[in-house]
């Protein structure tokens, strides 16, 4: 195994891209990453593309081939493989790309993530996203994805006394950061009152506890660390890339208030990167629902169980706090184009570690952690990045 670095990163704005198709978004993100790395398509040896459900969202499968084709790589016979792990598809693609370079099979690969979600009506999108849960034993009986998140939240409230007002602090922080990110889906701040009084999706989750339906693409170029400096002065090292899985359906879990897959991925990632939670300068945590972010904060070791929300209450999660959280805006404000999200989190961390994040720049950021989950924290993937 050899070290792997990110030598280029790029992404589209997240949001409702009425004029852009799946391939437009993928190609835009990919070309930005190549441009950032200062390389041409002919330098790419393989593509790993994260995508959850283009087959359902736009009727297009074989997404790897589509992306490679329209990025101009069909001419070079570059292998392009789609990777799917529900909302963790992006991080799963990065994990695949990481393994491909670390193993020595390839020296330079492009990792992308893309989702085009707004071509369908709301209830159809809800139905497709529910495919991340167990279709036959959860969704068939009427469980939406937010309903599953809501049951996690309800149980957490029951076990630890969390209030809706406390839980609302997480979207408030995410929106505060989103307002500083010109590529975010939502660039406005919100208040606790706005969050708790928003339309109810699945009690106790209002629409402001849920990430939006977004279009978007994100991409990074990976290279083996020993050649990274040939392409950039500021390569970012992938110090850890770890995936872990749990039971698919929520009802199989012993507890709804902790995620064994996130705990496992976090522990292994810290070990692999030789880091501890206190060494992390910023985190991008999967906040598809506020409750998932709260479990993420605790299960990644940043707070004791039941006490994660204190970090929000103490103001530590703002970009200038002790644990800058979702400074991109997170899934909540930056947006959640499901297949792109995991790659987009890493694009943000790359920008932060390169000190290129503008108004939301975290001071002295040298180590960042990205936490991307699929399903009800079924698949958890953790990446730790650091300045080389």
């Amino acid at each position: 195994m050899r070290d792997v670095a990110i030598i280029g990163a790029g992404e589209t704005k997240y949001g409702e891209h009425w004029e852009k198709s799946l391939r437009d978004l993928a190609v835009e993100a990919g070309l930005k990453a190549l441009e950032d790395a200062g390389i041409g398509a002919q330098d790419i040896q393989a593509i790993f593309g994260g995508n959850m459900s283009a087959g359902s969202f736009v009727g297009q499968d074989h997404v790897g081939a589509l992306i490679a084709d329209f990025a101009g790589l069909a001419e070079h016979k570059v292998p392009a493989i789609r990777v799917e792990s529900a909302c963790a598809s992006g991080a799963a693609a990065l994990h695949s790309g990481y393994m491909a370079v670390a193993s020595g099979l390839y020296d330079i690969v492009l990792v992308g993530g893309v989702e085009k979600m707004t071509d369908l009506q709301g209830d159809m999108v809800t139905d497709i996203l529910a495919g991340a849960a167990d279709r036959e034993w959860e969704v068939f009986f009427g469980a939406t994805f937010p309903a599953l998140g809501a049951m996690m939240a309800r149980r957490y409230m029951y076990e630890y006394g969390l209030t809706k007002e406390q839980m609302a602090l997480l979207p408030v922080i995410a929106h505060k950061h989103g307002a500083m990110n010109p590529d975010a889906h939502f660039q406005r701040e919100v208040t606790v009152d706005q969050v708790i009084n928003a339309p109810m999706v699945a009690d106790p989750l209002t629409i402001m506890n849920c990430s939006p339906v977004s279009d978007g693409g994100a991409a990074v170029v990976l290279a083996s660390a020993d050649i990274a400096r040939k392409y950039t002065d500021s390569p970012i090292k992938i110090s850890a890339s770890v995936a872990a899985n749990d039971y698919l359906s929520l009802h199989e879990r012993e507890s709804l208030t902790r995620s064994p897959s996130t705990i496992e991925a976090g522990k292994k990632a810290y070990k692999m990167a030789k880091k501890e939670p206190k060494d992390i300068d910023l985190v991008e945590i999967h906040d598809a629902f506020s409750i998932i972010a709260l479990l993420g904060i605790e299960d990644l070791g940043f707070a004791k169980k039941g006490e994660g929300i204190k970090l929000a209450e103490e103001g530590q999660l703002y970009y200038d706090g002790d644990l800058p959280y979702n400074v991109s805006g997170g899934l909540k404000a930056k947006g959640h184009p499901v297949g792109a999200t995991g790659v987009g989190q890493v694009v943000e961390i790359v920008k932060q570690l390169r000190n290129e994040a503008g108004k939301r720049q975290v001071p002295n950021a040298r180590v960042g952690l990205a936490h991307n989950v699929g399903g009800t924290m079924t698949s958890s993937i953790v990446h730790i990045l650091e300045v080389m």
Binding site: F141, M151, H251
Partner: protein
């Protein structure tokens, strides 16, 4: 029109048929062909077991934005039910005022229409839950 995908699950959905690992005794619902705890030792030996349909609310939510097929039932209560046999099940709680549902509430399974394949397709039946009589 989809028939076999629903048809093949009918026994578990109609009659709560799960499986039990003869090695460690753990009961699973829906049925599994391998016990996650005992692995190879359980392969080919998992036994059918019928759940009683009794249970308690482990967690719940009131769904306001539905998946396709549930438009006319919203807002509806979804819950995870813990059964005395061990497994937890996801299902709707019906014939109840949503605001009266609480964690720990005793419920039992009933037989209801779950979904239907359009106006002309197959009606899919299965379990939901109702509160026990007070």
């Amino acid at each position: 029109m989809v028939v076999p995908r629903f048809w093949r699950e009918r026994r578990s959905r109609y009659s709560l048929i799960g499986t039990k690992c003869p090695v460690c005794g753990t009961v699973y619902f829906p049925p599994r062909s391998v016990c996650p705890k005992c692995g190879r030792k359980s392969v080919g030996k998992m036994e059918e077991v019928q759940l009683s349909g009794k249970g308690k609310v482990y967690s719940y939510t009131i769904v306001h934005q539905n998946v396709i097929g549930y438009k006319y039932q919203k807002p509806y209560v979804m819950a995870i039910i813990e059964t005395p046999e061990g497994p937890k099940l996801t299902g709707q709680i019906v014939d109840v005022e949503p605001e009266k549902v609480h964690i720990g509430m005793p419920v039992h399974a009933v037989f209801r229409r779950i979904a239907e394949d359009g106006k002309a397709g197959i009606i899919q039946y299965g379990y939901k839950f109702v509160p026990d009589e007070e």
